[in-house]
Symmetry: C2
Subunit: 326 residues, 2 copies
């Protein structure tokens, strides 16, 4: 089994690669578990920190047809398409968002179709496909009404994935990720970047600014659960997935205020006091347009997993990224 | 006011052009009614039958950037984007469907954005955006789950329209047309082509084959109502449209069997007996995946109109296309 991960040098891509190396096998097109012989990590920069003969790093533009033809050969039976321009950046640069979030996805699907081996393709969509006037809880049957370019582009990706699966060009599985928190490293241009920053920065003894009010709803998922769900999305059978389109994952319904309260409980009030509340109108508008809660019935039926509570999410970050035992 | 109609030589485009010539004015960007000085009809073939100095016909490929740059100048404040590859053809030729239904739409929106004059753009989406497991009646909040490439491509068009409107590149209005019947002329490659053929052919004394069973549900609209709704989609205010995405029009819930029964009532049983029922599995599958009934609350609130019953639809065809007084 050869595997391609786009956005493979990113935080989730790297974590996913490690999980796949540890798992060592993946479902082949015939459903049997087969050894993973190669994982190609495609990204703008080379993925770092791997010392495993199965890992190949490729630096390249995911929207460049020559790059895609090089990394997506007929030997690749598993694709995890994580490469994306994040919400804040897609909103600021419409053309860049279209190029990476739409054109690159289409390129990948076109190449898979030409290869003719019907690879399993896992596509990461997002809670940001929903927006505007929403029901209290978003259902599997709720229509996406994105209020940002990122969300619109992700729905387009879902539709391409779904139609190409129906046509038999690929065996696609799109999952809508909740806001992933706590991400390690630095803040990024995602409007949801604060959801990691308000936990990560204080834990590292640094002041954090929360640009949204405490009552702002967040539909959250830990990186650990996200990676488990990415793998599960690949492994679940085609019959179980069906033609129902993208799968909204079972996140954790919380708020910015509750997240900081969990931080206080797990790491102490003096840590939580490093969070400063300073509202940013643009971020609050974008984040506030996303739904705070879902009934993720289809995902739960298919065996996808969520986090128990936000205290556990904070603890997982401390264990995995800080080497702490909280 | 300069107007562009893509697909302008088609049946709906031609009818729309005649309606606009008769109306003589359209809402300008500032909301005031302004005289229509020019209507450009873009299509692969030149539109026929016009003798009006305001009509300009352009033969060209709607997916060719040079053609779009030529017809969509900053003087054009109103665009009716009707050009499309129909359902049966988009299903048979995936690339052609993507090129005309997706790429051409994007080209048009990109050109409008470059022009900077924020034109009103009316986009014709379709009932075919819905499919698969659907509620008994489709609501405005029901998620599109297209089961054909045409439907998927139309949802992508809706999303591009909606996001470009939100960004202020255009003032877009997407309407989901029911199955338009009775179309004059010849059968086309739309899977729904039978819905016109089973009325039109018998009225012209010709045998017609109905490829779907009598109980097949059809969400129908007469060409007259469709044209009225296209004009209304242009005229309704931006505030009323809002950011809610495409508008499902108020069709008429009928069945293939009821349509032929209406034909018998209006034109006589000997005419209706010219319909032969001979099931085509592919067409039945595609048509059967579309919803048969909607609660078109948003459209009705916005003043869009439907047809009273199918007898009236048959009569309208006889009056408009056959010069008959039924």
């Amino acid at each position: 089994m050869e595997v391609l991960i786009t956005g493979g040098a990113g935080f989730l891509g790297t974590k996913l690669a490690r999980a796949l190396l540890a798992k060592a096998t993946l479902a082949a097109p015939d459903g049997t578990q087969q050894p993973i012989t190669r994982i190609t990590l495609l990204d703008r920069v080379a993925a770092q920190g791997f010392d495993d003969a199965r890992i190949a790093t490729v630096e390249g533009d995911v929207a460049d047809p020559a790059v895609i033809a090089r990394v997506l050969t007929p030997q690749v039976n598993s694709v995890f398409h994580l490469a994306a321009v994040v919400s804040g950046e897609a909103e600021a640069d419409f053309d860049l968002g279209m190029r990476i979030n739409v054109d690159a996805t289409r390129l990948l699907l076109d190449q898979a179709r030409r290869n003719g081996n019907v690879p399993r393709v896992v596509f990461t969509s997002s809670v940001a496909v929903f927006g505007g006037e929403l029901p209290e809880q978003v259902l599997d049957s709720t229509a996406p009404t994105p209020q940002g370019s990122y969300g619109a582009q992700k729905v387009i990706g879902e539709l391409l994935m779904s139609d190409c699966s129906r046509k038999g060009f690929i065996d696609g599985r799109s999952i809508r990720l909740p806001t992933i928190t706590v991400r390690p490293g630095k803040a990024n241009k995602a409007a949801s970047s604060f959801a990691s920053g308000i936990i990560r920065e204080p834990l590292n003894g640094i002041d954090a600014i929360c640009p949204v009010p405490p009552e702002t709803k967040v539909w959250a998922m830990s990186p650990r659960s996200a990676v488990a769900n990415l793998v599960h999305a690949h492994e679940v059978t085609r019959e179980a997935v069906g033609n129902g389109g993208a799968i909204s994952l079972p996140g954790l319904a919380t708020t910015a205020g509750e997240m900081v309260a969990a931080l206080a409980r797990v790491a102490g009030p003096e840590v939580a006091q490093l969070v400063q509340w300073r509202k940013d109108e643009a971020i609050t508008r974008l984040v506030g347009s996303w739904p705070g809660s879902f009934v993720a019935r289809r995902a739960l039926r298919l065996g996808f997993v969520g986090d128990a509570d936000f205290d556990a999410v904070v603890r997982a970050y401390m264990e995995e990224e800080m080497g702490a035992r909280a």
